[in-house]
């Protein structure tokens, strides 16, 4: 863990300690999860040179090719809690995704849950088709007029790429988790889930590049439990000396 991450963790813990966290309703449980992303163990930034010292080949613009991953504020980390069978028995509230033809997605994929109803709202100026060929979530909503919307109920866990045109990049991406208790955070952030049924849970995470992280916790009734998850490459099987 880098010194910057450690400082962030310390400050987060300090702030968390200073704030009063609401207690769960009687008979229920809550959890606060600290989220961290960590760079490859053994990585020393000075060896790899400055981000902008090397111009790259121009495809991405000067210096961009060599931009480093900023683990201290890495975003798009999706975290969820699983506890079969209650995780998906009652679907989460409907989620609305704004989409427009030929407007590629930007930013992190939001998290949704299996069995959740997604509303795709066309915010573009023209009618457009919206469809997906992602494994387990194949659908074709047909044409949606400007300002109109259609819905789809998520069937399977995993990344769902929403397309409008077979020659363009996805207009939206969402990540479906097998749980209604799902949230998106960034490195150094805290995610909390309130008023869960007490019991044993798996905390899992997903990131578009990095390996996910899993830990198991037991949530006692009437208490706020704390946990930490660390996202990074260090858990992968290693080939090579370091």
């Amino acid at each position: 863990m880098s010194p910057r991450t450690l400082i962030l963790a310390f400050v987060s813990a300090l702030l968390a300690g200073c704030q009063s966290f609401p207690q769960p309703t009687p008979g229920m449980a809550s959890i606060r999860i600290q989220v961290f992303a960590e760079p490859k163990a053994g990585y020393i930034p000075s060896i790899s040179g400055s981000d902008y010292d090397f111009p790259g080949d121009g495809d991405l613009g000067k210096g961009v090719a060599f931009q480093r991953v900023d683990y201290s504020s890495l975003g798009g980390i999706i975290v969820w809690m699983e506890s079969s069978p209650s995780s998906t028995s009652t679907p989460a509230a409907t989620a609305t995704i704004d989409v427009a033809a030929k407007k590629p997605t930007s930013g992190a994929a939001p998290g949704v849950s299996v069995n959740q109803r997604l509303i795709l709202r066309n915010i573009g100026p023209q009618a457009a088709n919206f469809y997906s060929v992602s494994d387990g979530n194949e659908f074709d909503l047909g044409s949606i007029p400007p300002g109109g919307q259609k819905d789809y109920t998520v069937r399977s866990a995993g990344l769902i790429e929403i397309l409008s045109d077979s020659s363009s990049d996805p207009v939206a991406e969402v990540y479906a988790a097998p749980s209604k208790w799902i949230a998106t955070g960034h490195s150094g952030s805290e995610i909390s889930f309130m008023n869960l049924p007490p019991g044993r849970y798996k905390i899992a995470s997903w990131h578009p590049r990095l390996p996910g992280y899993e830990i198991f916790v037991t949530l006692p009734a009437d208490q706020v439990t704390t946990a930490t998850i660390k996202v990074g490459v260090n858990a992968l099987p290693k080939i090579g000396p370091r």
Partner: protein, 214 residues
């Protein structure tokens, strides 16, 4: 439902072909008598197909298929994987070489279920190797550089072809017998498709593929 029907039709055709044209020869990409499979991929739109691969799979899981012995080389230079799309075969090795001219470390990792690995940090002039033992797409990243990504497509057989921009493809040196022609798109815009085909010695089997949304 349509996918289910396609699977049933594919199974019936495969059973028929296997019954009357049994696969008796062990497949090898070398100098055995062979045929050629070629065709054109079409789709409803003007889709750039340069990052699409056509490959063969054997319907007989016991069929022995030798992987090429030479490793595939992937360079890391300018904070890019080159080539960014690599086609290899189950059992084949890929050598990753840090080709930077300046003192820049790289890392290669994949979190894909087909092959999870972390090659560690390596300096210019150093290389690391990975042997791929399962078919599928393996997405590559560098843990240091945020824009560095690539993919190794691991084919179940050495019979592969990139799809040209005009949609054409050619599979050379295909041993005689029954095969399944399959598609793989780096950025999937259509469901992948599978079509059975019979390869015959010194003949060209034409197999056109039409990509559809559903």
């Amino acid at each position: 439902m349509q996918n289910g029907n396609q699977a049933i039709i594919l199974s019936v055709v495969m059973l028929f072909l296997l019954r009357y044209f049994p696969t008796t020869l062990a497949a090898s990409p070398t100098s055995q008598p062979s045929g050629r499979i070629s065709g054109k991929v079409t789709s409803p739109g003007e889709v750039p197909l340069s990052e699409m691969i056509i490959y063969l799979e054997s319907p007989d899981p016991k069929r022995e298929i030798a992987a090429p012995k030479d490793p595939v080389k992937v360079s890391q230079k300018g904070a890019k994987f080159s080539p960014a799309v690599v086609v290899t075969c189950v059992g084949q090795t890929v050598d990753f070489l840090n080709d930077e001219e300046r003192s820049i470390e790289h890392n290669v990792f994949s979190n894909t279920f087909v092959k999870k690995f972390d090659l560690g940090l390596f300096k210019p002039g150093e290389s690391r190797s990975v042997t791929f033992d399962k078919p599928g797409a393996v997405f590559l990243y560098c843990s240091i550089h945020r824009h560095m990504d690539g993919v190794v497509f691991v084919s179940p057989t050495p019979y592969t072809s990139r799809v040209e921009k005009d949609g054409s493809y050619t599979l050379e040196g295909v041993p005689p017998g029954i095969w399944v022609v399959k598609t793989w798109q780096r950025r999937r815009h259509f469901p992948e498709i599978s079509i059975p085909v019979l390869s015959e010695v010194n003949k060209i089997a034409t197999t056109d593929l039409e990509l559809r949304r559903k």
